[in-house]
Amino acid sequence: MFNYWLFASNNLGILAIVGTLAAIGGFILMRNKFLKEVNESREREKELNKRVFESEILREISEKIGYSLNAQKLVEIITGSIGKLMSYTSVSYLIMGEDGNVKFNCNLIEAMNEAYVQELKHKVLASFNEMTGEPLLDSEVEENITGIVLENEKKKAEILSYFNLPIVVFGKVAAVINVSSTNVSQYNEKTTDVLYRIARHGSQAVSRLLEIIENEKAKLVQAVESLSDGLLMVDNDFKVVLVNKRLCSILNITHSSTLLDIVHKLSGQLDLRTMMEAAGSFGDEKIKLTEIIISDKVLQVYATKVADQHGLNPMGIAVTFHDITDAKSLERLRSDFTAVMVHELRAPLTTIKSTVELINEDPTIITPAELKHHLEVVELTAQSMLELVNDLLDVAKLEAGKFQVVCESADFALDLYERTEAFKPVAEAKNLKLTVSIDDDLPKGYYDRVRLKQVINNLLSNAIKYTDSGEIIVRAVPEEVNSEAVDILVSVGDTGIGIEKSETEKLFSRFAQLKSGHARAGQKSSGLGLFISKGIIEAIGGKIWVESAGAGFGSTFYFTVPLGKSREKEQGEEGIIFSTKRVAHA
């Protein structure tokens, strides 16, 4: 019995000990679990805070993208927000300015000494240099310190923990942010990762925005470069912002020329600086200056004030150099043309007047033979005046688009032969051989018979006029495509003075003779024949051109006449009137 009680009491003691131990163990386990949960909860809270911080900053960045975000603004957003996430002694950054200058900005939360600031600068500069591979010297960096900087002896404190946050835009280092503390082990990979994510996101946003701006800028630059006018733009400090290619060519300067170079080039012609100052003080209207002549070019110069998109803040002055050399030449040509035409009309009038005066002086002493001769002179001169007036009327109609041709199906071979036969005596008078070669199977043409005779007359008379020896060959053949005639090709070739290749285009212009200097002494001509011929040929649907091996090697004029058959089918047998909308003006 005793043994039983002893056994029972022993077991109870063991059970009590085991129970106590189990209770302690349970408590410890529960406590650890509780502490673990508390820690996890704190971690989750920290993580949540980081996420909130990240989304706040990213939202701010996104908002800025709407109008203007650049590296400077991105840096300001980040440096202005770091305090919400971590404590620090200083936040500083090194940034590449838009003007190419590098700036170091340092914001001290606590008063620190000069050595601390210099160490910061050294660290951030070292980071920048490692990334760019092109070391910047300390002296090349401008400093801007916010906060209290003490003398070195006053507060000796070291940077005990720091990290750098690079801002990379378009693959280039735009800035480096440095966050430093005088406390040890303040920052690690875990506490800073959110800032690196923000920096990367912000950098990408700035890069994307810059890419859009750069693309727009490229479009604008291309537009400015392709301008036919010279363009100069200066900022408010009269620093050259833009010189386009055309202005470089006009003034013989480079894109990197300074305002002084440009002013120097214009000296004696234009006081550019004064003119720009005047434009800057004016309203929106352009200032037009008198014309200037630079390197044989006549230029009209305008100056305008450039303002921002709201038109409130002046941003600089734009000066355009409008090249009016061609307009001036044309104006002179018109004036010369009028003078020539007046002379051409006045000379025969003088002849007529003096002949009539001679007859009237004493008609009784003039023999019938002399009278006949005088009257023939008057008739011939009047005829030449009439031709000239007709030419001028044709030109006026062509220019007004009112020149009309009446086309019909006709035997072009016959008309061409008849015209060349008429010119044979004139050619023989100059000892020139006039050969005519017309294809036996030449199809009918569709053209204005009167006007096309005018064209043939003009080409033959020119050929004879400008050929002193040799021959004139007239040919007419059907022009074929896939063995089928498409039109009639006519050529009038001569062995005369020929034409330089550069002059061939000008030959068909209204001012042909004035431009090419083709008129020769003793060759009376209005010089309008080829211009009118071109108008006629184009009005009937043909083409006209000239080929020449050069001056002294003769020339061949070609023109085409549409076929009668095809047009008849299209238009019927009636004569069709075509106006001259297509005729190009000189």
């Binding site: 980071s127 490692e130 990334m131 690079p166 693959g171 920052y187 690690n188 875990k190 800073t192 690196y196």
Partner: protein
């Protein structure tokens, strides 16, 4: 010098450059996230477990996540410099 030694030298130099760029703690902790390398606090790699080229690419990728393509530019510069130094040593 073996290939592994070459990679150790390049990666060590690369981490040291990143320590200047990012700051020592952040750069080293970032590198230590890779289990295939062991390194000292000064960035010197003591052990590489695996293909050196692959590890180099992995560490570059880690830094690229922080500073973008500049990480690649810096690595190329380190490789050039290390190769040139190695060439000079071998030519002596």
């Amino acid at each position: 010098m073996s290939k592994t030694q070459d990679y150790k030298a390049i990666i060590s130099e690369y981490i040291k450059k990143q320590m200047i760029i990012l700051g020592p703690v952040v750069a080293v902790e970032k590198a230590r996230k890779l289990e295939k390398i062991k390194l000292k606090d000064d960035g010197a790699v003591t052990q590489i477990n695996g293909d050196g080229e692959e590890i180099m690419a992995m560490i570059e990728s880690e830094y690229e996540g922080m500073i973008g393509s500049i990480a690649h530019t810096v690595l190329l510069r380190v490789i050039d410099k290390t190769s040139a130094a190695k060439g000079e040593i071998e030519n002596v």
